[in-house]
């Protein structure tokens, strides 16, 4: 398939990291806050009290500031699949393009249409229709998350498709399998519920700030109660869906799981490391101890990965070098099969061009034997299938620790709200003030686990990232990276300055 320019690959990767992580600074706020707005406004419509209306309008102002930049950064990702990853777009466009188009039809128009009513329709429509519009913005935002996460889930666990050697691309065979793949379901539920937590903490952080300053006390307390209830329910749900995601990883992406658990040697009844420091510089197969220090829970990993006390959980070493007893093929063997598949595919194309039908059929038959290993044929070494372990491991653990902390924090917030003693607990308000930044960190870390943990694959086992890029000189990608970087820096500063000013002005100013 031609030579690979690794500089292009790495700059395209860097650009994806930059644009996706930047976009994700704003998305979880939108996903969570949109529902909170709907709750706030529902309270207004139910009680008819103006204070709920003012409260809704205040949070709506902040929502709008965040939403604008979320929209601006979202369009980049769609373009980027084409500009930087055109080989990918061609090879899987038949499957990957559909959710993106559906996202546009089902979700973006809901958001765009009802957003205008939500902001400008207070005295242009009825109370009921306005409330309906606010709910539609929340539904639309979260539906758009559904479709893009279905697309991402498919990359992690490609299902419902087959490789078509004639066109040299993957083609969809079953839409429902793509939509309801266990990975897609786990991804959607975990991503949205954890985003609800981020949205809740956005409200809690700002409200805690007001309580610490003794400003807008009544509004802040009301906001905190609604956000804490929503946040707590979502946090608990996020814990369950997180467990579901881990179970899916155990079945479909064992290497990712081995990386985020720091598991080098597979075992039956494998322990889970609750707290540990990785040995720095550790490589697979070098005989070093994986951990410099660790605290483990016996059998924990087997239960998480397989939901069985004594199940075998493969480690990085097993997955790279194979484990005959457990039926794991070494990567070297997969690479050989993959290279054979690539050769047969090329031969088939050649025969097709020459009009040599028997040769084409023969090559196709040989290709089919090895086609599941196609992606491995592009690897240079077996160790290439190991993702950056430390990044994945620490990101995962930070996310889990924070997720647990959030449940405690929200329980405390609800308890002291119930006692009406929140204002006196300065220490708690300080923790609450930090909570949004921690929640956003946890959310970003979740994506690091999901995306770094599946390297080197763009599509698990089928297409390595290095084969997915556009054939373009690295300089072009570098230049567009630089423009994005400057643009993002300026827009982020503008966004933060505007947001802080509006928070300072407070609800009376809206």
């Amino acid at each position: 398939m031609g030579e690979i320019d690794l500089a292009t690959v790495n700059w395209a990767r860097a650009q994806f990291i930059l644009t996706a992580m930047y976009h994700w600074l704003f998305v979880p706020i939108t996903l969570g806050l949109s529902f909170l707005l709907a709750f706030f406004e529902s309270m207004y419509v139910r009680t008819g009290k103006e204070e709920w209306k003012n409260l809704t309008k205040f949070w709506m102002t902040l929502f709008g500031i965040n939403f604008a930049i979320g929209v601006a950064t979202g369009i980049i990702l769609e373009f980027q699949f084409g500009t930087n990853w055109s080989s990918y777009s061609w090879m899987v466009g038949d499957i990957f393009g559909a959710p993106l188009a559906i996202e546009g039809i089902f979700a973006f128009f809901l958001e765009a249409t009802f957003f205008a009513v939500m902001f400008f329709g207070w005295d242009r429509t009825t109370k009921g229709f306005h409330l309906f519009s606010t709910w539609m913005v929340a539904v639309g935002s979260n539906l758009s998350a559904l479709w893009i996460l279905v697309a991402n889930g498919w990359m992690q666990y490609p299902i419902g498709m087959a490789f078509n050697p004639e066109s040299a691309r993957f083609e969809m065979q079953n839409f429902w399998e793509v939509l309801f793949s266990p990975v897609a379901v786990a991804k959607f539920t975990h991503t949205t519920s954890s985003s609800f937590v981020v949205g809740s903490f956005f409200v809690i952080t700002i409200s805690s700030y007001y309580l610490l300053k003794g400003r807008h006390v009544e509004m802040a307390k009301k906001s905190i109660i609604v956000a804490s209830v929503f946040g707590l329910l979502s946090s608990v749900f996020a814990a369950f869906t997180g467990d579901e995601s881990a179970y899916a990883n155990g079945r479909f992406q064992p290497m990712k799981m081995a990386a985020y658990e720091g598991l080098y040697e597979g075992a039956k009844g494998a322990d889970i490391v609750a707290l540990g420091i990785l040995t720095s510089g550790k490589r697979v197969g070098d005989g070093q101890k994986p951990f410099a220090f660790e605290v483990s829970i016996p059998h924990g990993l087997s239960i998480m990965a397989k939901r069985e006390w004594n199940a075998f959980v493969p480690g990085i070493k097993d997955l790279v070098y194979g484990n005959e007893a457990e039926g794991i093929m070494p990567v070297t063997e997969k690479m050989e099969k993959g290279k054979a598949a690539i050769a047969d595919l090329a031969m088939m194309q050649k025969a097709r061009k020459a009009g040599d039908e028997p040769a084409k059929v023969a090559a196709l038959e040989r290709f089919k034997v090895n086609q599941d290993y196609l992606g491995f044929g592009y690897l240079d070494t077996p160790e290439e299938i190991v993702p950056p372990v430390a990044t994945t491991y620490y990101s995962f653990h930070v996310m889990v620790y924070l997720g647990t902390f959030f449940i405690l924090l929200l329980l405390l917030y609800l308890y002291y709200s119930y006692k009406d003693a929140l204002e006196d607990k300065k220490w708690l308000l300080l923790l609450g003030f930090c909570s949004f930044f921690l929640a956003l960190t946890a959310s970003e870390m979740g994506w690091v686990v999901a995306e770094v943990g599946r390297q080197p694959w763009a599509i698990q086992d089928l297409l390595p990232v290095k084969m997915a890029t556009t054939k373009i000189a690295a300089g072009h990608v570098q230049a567009s990276f630089a423009i994005f970087f400057i643009m993002f820096a300026v827009l982020l500063i503008a966004e933060i300055k505007i947001m802080l000013k509006q928070i300072k002005i407070g609800p009376e100013g809206v």
Binding site: S89, L100, A101, R124, T125
Partner: protein, 377 residues
């Protein structure tokens, strides 16, 4: 019924769907056109505010339609998506940049402490309306003038022009199409503002907007003429029954003659645009936008249909004719097109609620009361 359609039928249906979305986008560029009119028709801050707030209730529709246009092309014609976006890299990147800065500008322009100042955000809106639309026109122009790419056995694109897509803007035809779209967007923008703003107490403002509709139409005319005359005269790309691509004399003229419906769309569309202009600038009607809008949609459809139907590769390669993309060789699989066609049944529902909300929200025109609201842009 959809499940029984053959792939050729589905490919044609999807070219029509993509064309409809693209044509609707061209209508919705009244937002971009309005943005470029800002500094000319609005003299006071109050007038500026009226324009921004009027457009600000619609910009997301245009933006979303553009995103859907991209998404629909990706889903239905992934080879085009991969080839054009990956190949004509910079033309798409620049278009993208102009839409990124647009998306924040409405919200941030008048907010206190906005770092760059209102003028800069207005400049962003101007860039989006001018450079953005111009480049979209240039990109669409390559449907007729061709691009510089080859595809290998694995359909990977190699772009042979070092400008990576920007060369599209150095063709007189592409540029003319781009400028036509820019001025047409301004015409539509003026029509929309006339329809949407309550000019009570600011008659000079109204007169300026109405006049700008005619002026911009006159400015659009030479570019339109150049595009139409070129289309009639130039040789085009054609495929024979075996899918072999060659240069065909007067290809686009013969397409129009072979598909009288398309010719009809073009003629009726242009007529409606003219009608919209006369109603806006010469009569005192506020309904010009509906004529101009529908006219633009019909012209847009005619352009896309001429480019893709009647044995015409819609994304031709100048340097390797056989790499050219047709709606038949660039499409998704039979299965995906079928599944997406079921999804497309939902489009009328979307159009329905968009229209309903539009009507609800615009039953009262944008006036002074709206721009003094604290939520105003």
């Amino acid at each position: 019924m959809i499940g029984n359609l053959d792939i050729v039928m589905l490919q044609q249906i999807w070219w029509i769907i993509c064309s409809v979305v693209g044509a609707l986008f061209l209508f919705l560029t009244f937002v971009q056109g309005g943005q470029t009119l800002l500094w000319q028709v609005a003299k006071s801050d109050q007038e500026k505010s009226l324009v921004i707030n009027s457009l600000g209730r619609k910009w997301e529709l245009t933006f979303t339609t553009l995103v859907l246009f991209g998404g629909a092309l990706f889903a239905a014609f992934p080879k085009f998506y991969a080839t054009s976006f990956g190949g004509a890299y910079w033309v798409w990147m620049l278009i993208l940049f102009t839409f990124i800065v647009q998306a924040v500008s409405y919200e941030y322009r008048t907010k206190p402490n906005n770092l760059l100042g209102a003028q800069t955000y207005e400049l962003f809106l101007f860039i989006n309306g001018s450079v953005g639309v111009l480049l979209i026109g240039a990109a669409v122009g390559t449907f007729f003038t061709g691009s510089n790419f080859t595809l290998n056995d694995f359909n990977q694109v190699t772009w042979t022009n070092p400008l990576r897509g920007l060369e599209a803007a150095f063709s007189l035809f592409n540029l003319s199409l781009g400028f036509f779209l820019v001025f047409n967007a301004r015409v539509l923008g003026a029509m929309y503002l006339v329809n949407n703003i309550d000019f009570n107490g600011v008659p000079e403002f109204e007169a300026r907007v109405r006049k700008s509709c005619l002026v911009n139409f006159l400015l659009a005319l030479p570019f339109l003429l150049y595009v139409v005359v070129s289309l009639v005269l130039i040789d085009g790309f054609g495929t024979d029954t075996n899918g072999v691509v060659s240069m065909v004399a007067h290809k686009y003229l013969s397409n129009l003659l072979a598909m009288p419906v398309v010719l009809g769309l073009l003629v009726v569309g242009l007529f409606l645009v003219i009608l919209g202009v006369t109603r806006t600038s010469l009569a005192r009607s506020t309904t010009g936008i509906w004529f101009g809008g529908l006219g633009t949609v019909l012209v847009g459809l005619a352009v896309f249909f001429t480019a893709g139907f009647n044995g015409t590769p819609f994304y031709p390669s100048k340097i390797d004719l056989q790499s050219s993309l047709t709606i038949y060789n660039a499409s998704s699989s039979h299965y995906t097109l079928t599944a997406m066609t079921y999804v497309a049944l939902f489009i009328p529902v979307v159009l329905g609620y968009v229209a309903y909300v539009w009507k609800q929200m615009d039953s009262r025109k944008i006036g002074m009361r709206d721009i003094s609201d604290k939520k105003a842009y």
